[in-house]
């Protein structure tokens, strides 16, 4: 059993992600974007953060055409578990595996800091180790994290528990970090098998990094496989 961590030209979080996964006792394998099949024993896929293809055209737009992503789309459509972190989230949006799209941050800045995340819906494996309303603290580092979706689709997502994480203040009130609709930081697909979030759980996997809240999310995601 192995977790495939994808690696595109410009990805820069693949080793951190592999480290965080292995620390939880799972085997992880970095998979190059030119591969057209996932390793045989792949049980889940993580699309890590970075700047795939230099963020040219739109973040994640070019990565979706790489051979490995065609395979990941097949894997996800067959019920396989997929997690996209930061640029990985953008790639999953561009690939159509998750609903919505990303725009440039409202203040046009690259935002790099620790942020609070509020759990909105824990009825999924990813957040199964948290409670609704819990606050989690982990780093964000992005320029294009301004999540956008039309009101009708957004309502459907709420009804189906697909809005899973929001940015929040220290006392748990919604916080407009980057301009995202309803302060959304993370979402999942309708069958709750594909997840995406802008913050970096792998950068909060031990106290020496400033916290280990990220482990709760990664553990939840991995425990479902």
């Amino acid at each position: 059993m192995s977790i495939a961590v994808l690696f595109f030209p410009g990805t820069n979080c693949e080793q951190d992600t592999k480290y965080a996964v292995e620390k939880l006792g799972y085997k992880a394998e970095v998979v190059w974007h030119k591969e057209s099949i996932l390793p045989k024993d792949t049980e889940a896929v993580i699309v890590p953060g970075g700047f795939s293809y230099g963020d040219y055209l739109r973040s994640g737009a070019i990565a979706k055409f790489s051979p490995i992503m065609q395979e990941v789309v097949r894997f996800a459509n067959g019920g396989g578990r997929v997690l996209g972190i930061c640029n990985g989230f953008q790639i999953l949006l561009e690939s159509g595996l998750l609903p919505g799209a990303m725009k440039r941050n409202e203040n046009l800045h690259f935002i790099s800091k620790f942020a609070n995340l509020k759990v909105i819906s824990n009825e999924n494996s990813f957040l199964s180790l948290t409670k609704n309303g819990d606050l989690l603290n982990m780093p964000v580092a992005h320029a294009d994290g301004n999540y956008n979706i039309d009101p009708e689709s957004l309502k459907k997502m709420y009804d189906n528990g697909q809005v899973i994480l929001k940015y929040a203040s220290d006392n748990g009130e919604e916080l407009n970090l980057n301009g995202s609709v309803d302060c959304i930081a993370g979402v999942c697909n309708s069958t709750k098998t594909v997840f995406g979030l802008m913050p970096h759980p792998e950068r909060a996997c031990e106290n020496s990094l400033g916290g280990e809240d990220g482990n709760k999310l990664l553990k939840g995601f991995l425990s479902s496989i």
Partner: protein, 80 residues
């Protein structure tokens, strides 16, 4: 033949870059500007001289790669 593709955020989708440029123009004293929308222009050199075929191809390129139709609209013109 050339295809000149213009890509913009859809009406109603807030354009943060346009807003910043609008703000800068206002600060500089260009008070006549009531709104700014920023976009992208992609210029494609095409091998074909068949306009009909080119239109179909460029449309496909826009739908699959050049624009993200969740938040963006596109227009294009073909120039000989």
């Amino acid at each position: 033949m050339k295809a000149i593709v213009n890509i913009y955020l859809k009406e109603g989708v807030l354009d943060p870059q346009g807003k910043a440029v609008h703000h800068a123009l206002s600060t500089m004293g260009f008070g006549d500007v009531s709104s700014v929308r920023m976009g992208k222009q992609v210029i494609l050199e095409l091998k074909t001289s068949d306009e009909k075929a080119a239109k179909v191809e460029v449309e496909k390129m826009c739908e699959t790669l050049l624009a993200n139709t969740v938040i963006e609209n596109y227009t294009f013109e073909l120039v000989k």
